[in-house]
């Protein structure tokens, strides 16, 4: 028979004024298994705790019940008390007779009776408790950042500055992401490259940062503190160590068919290219699909012209395997495909461009060297129409577009309109909008400047159609304020297209068992309180991969993610929560139901030799990774064979409480 001790606290008069604590202690003393029961003024005080410790030792108690305030208040305290007296801290149960009894009831008899019932339930539970020990697992002091945009760069820099190693895996040949493609940035209009490139260089030179560009994560295994990742470093066909970035090869390459990704395909580049002048690393890369050598075995002009001898046509992909303690997802976004919006004549006219294309057309390093010219005929546009919300805030049943607001388009459209009016005061600028949303520091002031100072014509309403009329683009829309139809014969139309997560996000999410919403944005562990953590322990979120954001927001979120990573990496080992799920392998039928409901991907399956009274042999059984399980219990209820149970809140414990309460 287990020996249980009961300690009823007066909490001064907080409990004792309404609950007859002596009567409670007496009543509980007669419960089977209870060998000691007493009351005391303040159980949490030093004297109270000593009383508990002495009793545990003197009576060799197997479990204790404290009838006191809420466990949310002092459960940790009394667990420590038990531990100090050599009792397993999970052999402690608390009956909440303050918040749930003395503070809400006035009648002493009623309150005392309820306190006794709650005490009985706690005794019934503690008798079913088992000693639990929290497992520990080691922490690899290195972080993996997937995606090298401003989000990934900022997180990596912050983590690296704290003294931890960081690998950035970037799928394209350079880090920098979308921000590198921007011309000027709202709300300050400073040039994107001027503020971004120093950070790119810093990341490259940081002793704790290792850049793996033109690389992709192929698989990830393990769990918080000890992940293992397999990374494919794609062949550049250029020796990164030898290449000096002089660019001679890129000029000599006779193949000019490759679309220049950096310029959103508005011009072409050689098969060997450096994405842009400030690319980091500043190394050439050969795009084999456009390279004459890879097609015909001939050419090799780049090889002949490279004085560093860096061209390596026989270079192979390299597989790198490394261990990480934490993983940060920073995979960013892409604008949606505008070709689905045929009503705006995107497919019919080169002069209908997306906002990101427009950034390139305005940029000094872009295809027109920063002079705004129509892509069709190189003429200067005199009238431009911007259309906001293209593919954003669409109704759920619309055949295309996104339901959400892309958040940045109102601001960058105001920026574009302002920049055009500043550079070309003779150009008329109209903006069609549904709403102008400017909730950010200095944002509304920025928008009002566009209207008041730069004379941008904002029209509240939607554009129904854009048609090509000779050299002009006829924009037909409605002005909801004057309630009139509007026709504008424009020279250029700019579509503020919605943004969506990078197309690889879904596969990264699956690989990391990090949950995502229906739009493929990564979900956070808690929308308000844990915004930079994924529900999967050890996975953190940085930047637009979690939801639309501008640069200031991206950078603050990146820093927040870094601080969470640093907090994790600063630990030598992780102490788990021992109240985790556990599958009884004799009962488990390997059905996989539990795996499907686990929000953390804590459950895997193994083929195992099992010996029991009803079964002997090898079978597939569920195994819970205790370092990953958060102890929600979803799996325990789903399990059809009652194989899955939760330590600390087991089926038997809860049913014992039910029985005691209904007695």
């Amino acid at each position: 028979m287990q020996k249980i001790g009961v300690f009823v606290c007066w909490c001064g008069s907080n409990i004792a004024a309404t609950v007859d604590v002596k009567a409670v202690a007496n009543a509980l003393r007669s419960e089977p298994g209870v060998v000691f029961s007493t009351e005391y003024q303040y159980m949490c005080s030093e004297n109270g705790q000593n009383l508990i410790k002495d009793t545990i030792r003197d009576y060799k108690l197997d479990g204790i019940v404290i009838c006191s305030c809420s466990p949310r208040m002092h459960e940790a305290t009394f667990r420590k008390t038990a531990l100090a007296a050599g009792l397993n801290p999970y052999m402690v149960e608390i009956a909440n007779i303050r918040e749930q009894v003395s503070w809400i009831h006035k009648d002493m008899t009623e309150a005392t009776d309820k306190a006794i019932v709650l005490g009985r339930a706690a005794i019934a539970k503690v008798k079913k408790n088992a000693p639990l020990t929290a497992g520990t697992s080691p922490v690899t002091k290195r972080a993996l950042v997937i995606g090298g945009g401003i989000a990934g760069i900022q997180t990596a820099l912050d983590v690296a500055d704290a003294g931890y190693e960081v690998d950035i895996v970037e799928k394209s040949p350079t880090i920098g992401g979308r921000m590198a493609q921007l011309d000027k940035t709202f709300p300050t209009l400073d040039c994107a490259a001027c503020i971004l490139t120093p950070k790119m260089v810093e990341a490259n030179q940081h002793e704790n940062i290792n850049l793996l560009t033109y690389s992709e994560v192929e698989s990830v295994s393990g769990f918080v503190g000890s992940f293992k990742a397999k990374i494919r470093k794609k062949a550049r066909f250029v020796d990164e160590v030898k290449c000096t970035g002089c660019g001679v090869c890129t000029e000599k390459c006779p193949s000019r068919k490759g679309l220049n990704e950096f310029n959103m395909g508005l011009n072409t580049r050689g098969a060997v290219y450096i994405p842009f002048a400030q690319a980091v690393p500043n190394k050439a890369v050969i795009d084999a699909s456009n390279c004459i050598h890879f097609r015909t075995g001939k050419c090799g002009i780049c090889e002949k012209n490279c004085s560093a001898g860096a061209i390596k046509f026989d270079q192979q992909d390299e597989i790198i395997e490394r261990d990480y303690g934490a993983i940060v997802v920073a995979t960013g976004f892409k604008p949606i495909d505008a070709s689905a919006f045929d009503e705006y004549a995107y497919n019919q006219s080169k002069d209908v461009v997306t906002s990101l294309e427009f950034e390139r057309l305005m940029n000094a390093a872009g295809p027109t060297k920063g002079t705004l010219l129509r892509p069709s005929d190189g003429e200067h546009p005199h009238e431009i129409v911007f259309i906001q919300c293209v593919g954003s805030r669409c109704s759920r049943d619309a055949s295309k577009g996104k339901e959400y607001c892309s958040k940045i388009c109102c601001m960058y459209t105001a920026k574009h309109a302002m920049l055009v009016r500043e550079k070309y005061p003779d150009t008329k600028v109209h903006v069609f909008y549904i709403d102008v949303r400017t909730p950010g520091k200095n944002f509304d002031e920025f928008y009002r400047r566009a209207v008041e100072q730069y004379g941008v014509d904002y029209i509240k309403g939607m554009v129904g159609k854009v048609t090509v009329e000779g050299k002009k683009l006829r924009v037909q829309g409605s002005d909801l304020i004057s309630n009139e139809q509007v026709h504008i014969d424009a020279d250029m139309v700019v579509l503020a297209t919605a943004i969506e997560p990078d197309p690889t996000a879904r596969s990264i999410g699956t690989m990391l068992t990090a949950s995502m919403d229906t739009n493929d944005f990564f979900t956070e562990a808690h929308p308000k309180l844990r915004p930079v953590e994924s529900p999967t322990a050890g996975i953190f979120l940085s930047g637009v991969c979690q939801g639309p954001k501008d640069i200031p927001e991206t950078v603050s979120q990146a820093g927040a993610a870094a601080s969470k990573v640093i907090g994790l990496l600063s630990k030598n080992e992780l102490v788990g929560n021992p109240c985790v799920a556990h599958a009884n392998e004799l009962l488990c039928n390997g059905c996989s139901q539990c795996e499907r409901v686990c929000p953390y991907g804590a459950i895997t399956y193994v083929e195992k030799e099992v010996r029991g009274p009803e079964f002997r042999g090898t079978k597939r059984v569920a195994v819970v990774n205790e370092a990953v399980c958060q102890g929600c219990g979803a799996c325990t209820v789903t399990c059809p064979s009652t194989a899955m149970d939760l330590k600390g809140f087991s089926n038997n414990q809860i049913m014992a409480e039910v029985d005691a309460i209904c007695r």
Binding site: E99, I104, A525, A634, V637
Partner: protein, 146 residues
């Protein structure tokens, strides 16, 4: 139905640790009363509530069982209360088939900040159960050992 003047309803309230249990604590520290017939069992998340626990309570003579969890979208474990909601919907339809009045079971979302809502919910539920009177004890049909 026999009128038993001594009769007091037995009400079991399962509360998730993160929201509703904290809501009950707030009701307590705000001194908001509700009937002593309500006894709370703490579970980590509403999704830990096995429908069998509710059946067990009715087999042991409970007159009402209520589950409280975080508001949809606010579950500490993200999705737990969605599972709970679906499971309870199914269970409740089965309970009425078994002859347990559907008003004897309830699911409510109570956040940690909703002390008043917690008390109000319990008052309302206890009133309903008191009006419904004593429950028929659900028989346990399991084959008894020996």
């Amino acid at each position: 139905m026999s009128v038993n003047t001594e009769w007091k309803p037995k009400i079991v309230a399962f509360c998730c640790n993160w929201c509703s249990y904290a809501g009950a604590d707030l009701a307590g520290s705000s001194r908001l009363s509700y009937p002593a017939d309500v006894k709370i069992i703490r579970i980590p998340c509403s999704c830990r509530l096995n429908p069998l626990f509710i059946l067990r309570a009715f087999q042991r003579g409970a007159d009402g069982v209520i589950l409280c969890g975080c508001h949809p979208g606010d579950c500490h474990y993200s999705t737990g209360n969605y599972y709970a909601r679906r499971r309870m919907t199914l269970l409740f339809s089965m309970l009425s088939y078994l002859g347990i009045d559907s008003r004897r079971t309830r699911v409510e979302w109570v956040s940690a900040a909703e002390g008043p809502k917690f008390a109000a919910t319990m008052n309302d539920f206890a009133k309903t159960i008191t009006e419904l009177g004593e429950n028929v004890k659900l028989g346990d049909l399991r084959c008894k050992e020996n």
